[in-house]
Structures are given as structure tokens and as C-alpha cells.
Subunit: 459 residues, 2 copies
Amino acid sequence: MKAVMEYFKKNNDAFLGDMKTFLAIPSISTSDEHKGDIIRAASFVEQQFTGMGLKNVQQYPTKGNPVVYGEWLGAIGKPTILIYGHYDVQPVEPLELWKTPPFTATIRDGKIFARGTADDKGQVFIHLKTVEAFMKTKGELPVNVKFIIEGEEEIGSTNLAEFVKKNKKLLSCDVILISDTHMQGKKMPSITYGLRGLTYLEMTVTAAKGDMHSGTFGGSVANPIQVLAEILTKCKDPKTSKVKIPGFYDDVVPLSKNERKELAKMPHDDAKYAKELGATKTFGELGYTTVERTGSRPTFEVNGIWGGHTGAGVKTVLPAQASAKVSMRLVANQDPMKIAKLFIDYVKSVTPETVKVNVKLFDNNGHPALTPIDSVGMKAAAVAIKNVYKTDPYFTREGGSIPVVADFQHLLGVEAVLLGFGLPDDNLHAPNEKLDLTQFSNGLQTVAHFFHEYATLKK
Amino acid sequence: MKAVMEYFKKNNDAFLGDMKTFLAIPSISTSDEHKGDIIRAASFVEQQFTGMGLKNVQQYPTKGNPVVYGEWLGAIGKPTILIYGHYDVQPVEPLELWKTPPFTATIRDGKIFARGTADDKGQVFIHLKTVEAFMKTKGELPVNVKFIIEGEEEIGSTNLAEFVKKNKKLLSCDVILISDTHMQGKKMPSITYGLRGLTYLEMTVTAAKGDMHSGTFGGSVANPIQVLAEILTKCKDPKTSKVKIPGFYDDVVPLSKNERKELAKMPHDDAKYAKELGATKTFGELGYTTVERTGSRPTFEVNGIWGGHTGAGVKTVLPAQASAKVSMRLVANQDPMKIAKLFIDYVKSVTPETVKVNVKLFDNNGHPALTPIDSVGMKAAAVAIKNVYKTDPYFTREGGSIPVVADFQHLLGVEAVLLGFGLPDDNLHAPNEKLDLTQFSNGLQTVAHFFHEYATLKK
């Protein structure tokens, strides 16, 4: 281990030099004009794989952007870790808010600034350079590793599930390791053990074939906005914030005593939290803390609503239609398709016969993910963190969704460890994205320890 | 009377010739580019007044477009009728949908097509030519008349109330006569005896200082769309459609037995009505018919709503704000300002402390108007109609608002008779506006009879 740690120290500048080259490629996946950059980024990853001694290195074409694969399977009898990351990045607008150009990585105050530093090129580099360090110093790793680095994460990993399905054998492993999340703080290391899933729908209430004059017709036919408001009100209890769709909570894995204890360790101040958001106070499901509400409980949220006259001034219109976009964040073991169906059935059952309702399900659905905190992967990660950060990690459940995590778990039948080294203020998807260099350095060491610990614990 | 009727017959072509000249002036008040046409139209009315023998003819300047005044007060000891109308018209877009040019009046199938035929130049002409007929054949009228023809009706009669306030003595009268509405049909003459008032507000619910990620924050703070939906649901009962704002109905003049009987005479088929609107069925306040609901009962309607992501596709946003525009149609004797205050107070009282709410009152408020069907003006109008149409008129209450009617009533303290000769399919504010020439001819005769009957009945 000592040699590996020294390799990290000695080669820090070289790592950052390579990382800057990677960060200079504007591999934005949301628009077609960067197709060439996507290819360049995939090739860069491929070269890194080859350079550090991986075998079987290959770019797998998909219907979209290629997946780059590489492996080292020389640790006979040892477990296999599948490392996932992505080489594509978010757009950079608004450009004028960047202090230094988004594709010219710049170091200041111990942080490296550029699009993709935290999400996810910089974090992918933690794994690349950890494996490189083992290979260059010892010629081998304590575990077998397989890498897949994709190029469509920022556009919903559109073709990844298909790739995983087709290549189950190639990707077979004992655990999945992902560094695409953040910790609570530099001195508050944490491991994400749960992610919420998502189902997203849009409903339209139609009362008539066209807009009507609210004077001439007002009072004689249903108002679709009013009906939509009634339907939404029937979906969530205003007092308890419980979702009122029958069966909604049926498959929810309840929080264990131990989990609630772990989650309660997280420093959190409701008043401060509300103030930072500009809210008068926090509000959520009765019987749960804010930390529990945002990570381990499902939600029902209206994401958008529109109907009638939405411009300036007055228009005395009785609208023909009104629509709303709603989404539900799900937790293990809720199934997005099942929940979507419960919602659709419920909406239809509570819609009065004075209007027609149409509900459309978007394809941005994702399963929730949950890796028990007493699983081998979690335990190995906790020890690795303690070795480096000199403190026990917090265990957290994130409110957001990374559908690919659940996809991996479902398709490969193994658990995922989300060992992210970002920080809450990394400006993901925003101007001045950065990665803290202490976190980068700690990340290298933590992943090295993780390899070692996992090999030891996983018998 | 015979001489007057013969004058109508003999001069019909001349009337239409003059009307076409009036209709050729594009006196659109909604945009400044037609200012010159507005002045030309006002001068045209002034010339007509002088030509038919009115005295004291004058254009009164206002902050906006001039009001044209003329009078004939030679009927000593007889009542005075104030005739109101407007010389301004609506815009004509979309031009391509007009079968003949909007400012080249064209007669086909017994109808005259042009912008302003029904609303209101053609109906103003009914009064001009009736007075002309009396003056040319008898040299006098059975009543005293005062005309005010304004040029801002299509932009809310912005300066008219001020003008009336300043000239109460000039405008003093026994009754106001207005022909700016329509009848139920050519063989279903009707008199409008009530108009709804209006109060129009906008409310914004704010939950946070900026939009939030629905994954990270969903479930921990209030969703402003959800809260807005709850507030709207608390404003109107989903089952009875009763407005739930305390005190809302306090000042409503209940429908009398006689009124309900009169309103019930109107042929109406709920199923046909719903089908024409494309609604599955009618819906409104429990205990009232559709005819009663649209004219004689107050309403609460959401005219517009918006918040969060309203574009295509998905965005997992927990919005910071949501807004709705709401309006209430009012009936006698509800006061728009009082009702607005009741609404604002109620909204504040039902808004949870998890959000802030802001309510803004627009200045498009109007009092309701009601002229009892047993008043002298109504009786005279009913006899006049029966004389010409050979059938009793229906008495109707219109759902829309003409704030100027209530303003007149309030400021001058007299009743208004809405004796409109338009038809429901006149295409007001739309391409191919028309006035039926039989209605024009019947209108001349009816107004002549009205003068006579009113002079007789008003002792």
C-alpha cells in the first residue's frame, strides 16, 4: 500500500496534466454539434485504459455514443469490481458566468475548475489513476476490475441498459463502484447507500372543445383548471403531506431503526435549511425528519402547471384545457411502472364526469436503488474512508435519481457502492464547476484502500 | 306613427348609404395608428346629429377619444331618454378570414357585413335614423332625447365615467337606452335586464427564493403549485359549485319567482348546449338552471394558471412559485371591490404558513346591473317589441359585463334599458361581423314605438 500511496504523491502533477487534457475536450452530449468531441473523449479514455495496462480495451458502439470498456482480471480467486463512470458533460451556458473558460481547466485555491471536473471526468480519473498506481508499482491489483465509461449519462443513459443487457457476461462482477456523487463535506465523508427512483407523468383535463368567454359561459360548464386543482389536492394530504394514491406506499421498504440512527447522525438544522432555500419553514411527510423525507421517503410533486391566460393583464377566458406535469420520487422497492399505473387509475377514479382527463407517462422512469449499509461493499467503503479521512463516514440516501444504478443492480444482480468525492458546492450543471484537489487526493487513497478492503472482506 | 314608418321604408337605401360611409371609417380604438380615423368617425356622428336636427351638438374632448353629444329637448313636460352608443370598433385581424373587406360594407343574403355593423355603428344608426324620421316627418319627438356616442368602448370606456361624473346635469334623464347587445333570435326578441359585474385578480404563491431540484429537495418544503391547487379547491365546492368565500353571496339579490318564470320561458336544451361546447355535460351551481347560472348567479372562475416547467418533456423541478388569475362574475347587488377584499382576506386565511401568498387586484372591475322587469322602461320596451315582432319578448340576463351600464346607473341614478338588435351569430370581435337588415328595420320601428310607449307610460 505504501508504494501506491507514494506513487500518488509523486505523480500528482502528471495526473492533473492528464486530467486537464481530458477536461479540454468539450464532450457535451446534449447537442449533436459536439459529436466529434464525444468521439475524442471516448478515444482518450481508451488510450488511458491501454496505457495503464488494462486488457480487452474496446469502444463498444451503441445507437448513441460509444461505451468504453477495459478490464484487468489477473487477481485469480479474488472478487471483481465493475467501475462505472461517464465521459460526457453538461452544456456550459451561461458562458459569461464562468470565471475561467469551462474547457481550460484552471487551478485556484486548491480546486480545479472546468466543466466535468466533479461530474464526472475528474472522479473517473480517481479510478483510472488508482488502478494505474497499482499496476505501475506492483504490476497487479488486489481485485479484478472492469471499467465501463459511457458517453450518455447527461442525456439519461439512453442506450446503456441495452448495452448491459446484451453484455451481462462481459460485465459480471461482485460489486459495482461508482464515483459520481458527493460527500457531505471535506471533513464529513459520507457514502450514499440509497437513491430515489422516479416516475414522471403529464395530465390534461379537457372541459370543452375550445376556450369560452367567462361571462357568457362561466358557471354553466366545468372549469378545467378548477378540476385539475381538485385532482391535485386529492393526490396529497395538505396536512400530513402523505400521498393519497391507494397502494402508493405498499412496496416501500421501511426505514430500519439502525438506518434512522445513522441518518440522524447527519448534522442538520431545519431553520437554517429553510432559510437557505428562502422558505418560511420546512414541510413534508408527517413523522419523518427532513433528512429522511428527502432521501428515504417517496414524494409526489407537481413540476409544472399551465392553462388559460398566462400572459400579462386580464383575459376573461374560461379555458378549454389545463395541464400539469407531476413526478413521484420513489424508494426501494417501489416500481415506477406500477406506481405510474396506480396514479393513472386513481386520477381517472377521482375525475368528475364533467371533464375528460388524459394522462401520459414519460419514459424518464427509474427504479430506486438501495444497498444495505451492512453489505460487504458498504463495510469495505466505510473502512477505506476511515483509513483516509480518520473518521467514520455518514451513511446517506440521496433524493435524486441515477436510474443507471438501479438498472445495473437489476440486470447484473449485484449491489452498487456510491463512493463519491464531490462536495455539495461543486456547481454541477452550473458555471464554475470544480473538484476540490484534497478530495481528489483523498479519493485516490480511498479507492486504493477500498480495493484492498473489499478483497479482504469478500470471501 | 304611420308617417314615421313610411319614412323608414322610403329612406331605407339612403340609411344604408349613410351607414356604409360610417362603416368605411376604420375607427379602431385599440391602437394609436387609427387616431385620425377615430376623429373622422366622431366628426361623422357630429354631422349626423346636426343634420337630423339635434341641438347643442358638440364633441367633448376626454383624456382619450372625444365623446359626441347632441340633444333635442323640445318635448315639454315629457320624459328624457339618454341614448348611449359607441363609434369605435375592434381590430379586424385575421384579415384573410374576411369574405369581403372589413371596411367596405357589403350586403348579401339580407345582411350587411363590415366591422362595426352590429358592434355598434349599425345599432347606433337605428337611433340616429329613428330620431331623424320623427324630426323630418313631424318636426318633433314624443320624448326628449340626449345622445352620447363615445369612442373608447372597445378599450374599456376608460374616460367615460369621468365624463359622466363631470356632466351629470347635462346628462340628466329618466332612462338610459342602449342598443349594443343582441336578441335570442329573429323570431325570439328579447330584452336584457341584467348584466353581470366583474372583479379580476391574480395570486402568486411563493415557496422558496428559487426553483429547486425535485430530487434533492422534493418532500422537504412546500410545493407552491400544490398549495395553489389547495387554495383554489377551497374557493369553490367541487360538488355544489358554490363559492366558498365567506360573505360572497351576502349582497346577491335573489331571483324572484316571476323572474325565474320569465327566464324559464327561454328555449334551452342542456344536452344540446353541452354538445355545442364540446363538454360532456353542463355543470354549475346546485339548484339553478343553466340559464340562471349564466346570467343571474355569480361565479368564481380560474382564468389562467402557471408555474414550474410548462414546456415539452420533463424537468425535475420543484418550482419556487405558482400563479393563477381568477375572476368572479357578480350580480346585483354585489360590489366588485367588496368581493375582491373578501377574496383576498379568504385566500390569506387559508394559505398555510409554509408559503407566502400575494394577491393583486386588476382595475378591470365592473358593477353588475339590474333593471327590474316591471320598471317603466322595461314595460315600454316590451310593448314596443310586441308591436313590431308580434310576440312577447323574452327577458334575459347576460353573463357578460358592460361596466359602463352600471356606471351610468350609479352616476345618474336611473335605469338602463338594453334593447339590442344584434343576433347571436353576428361575429362580434371576429371576422365577417354582420347586422341582419330585418333586424335593422325592426330596430327602427321598435325604437320609434319605444319613444311613444315610454312617453305614455312614464307619467
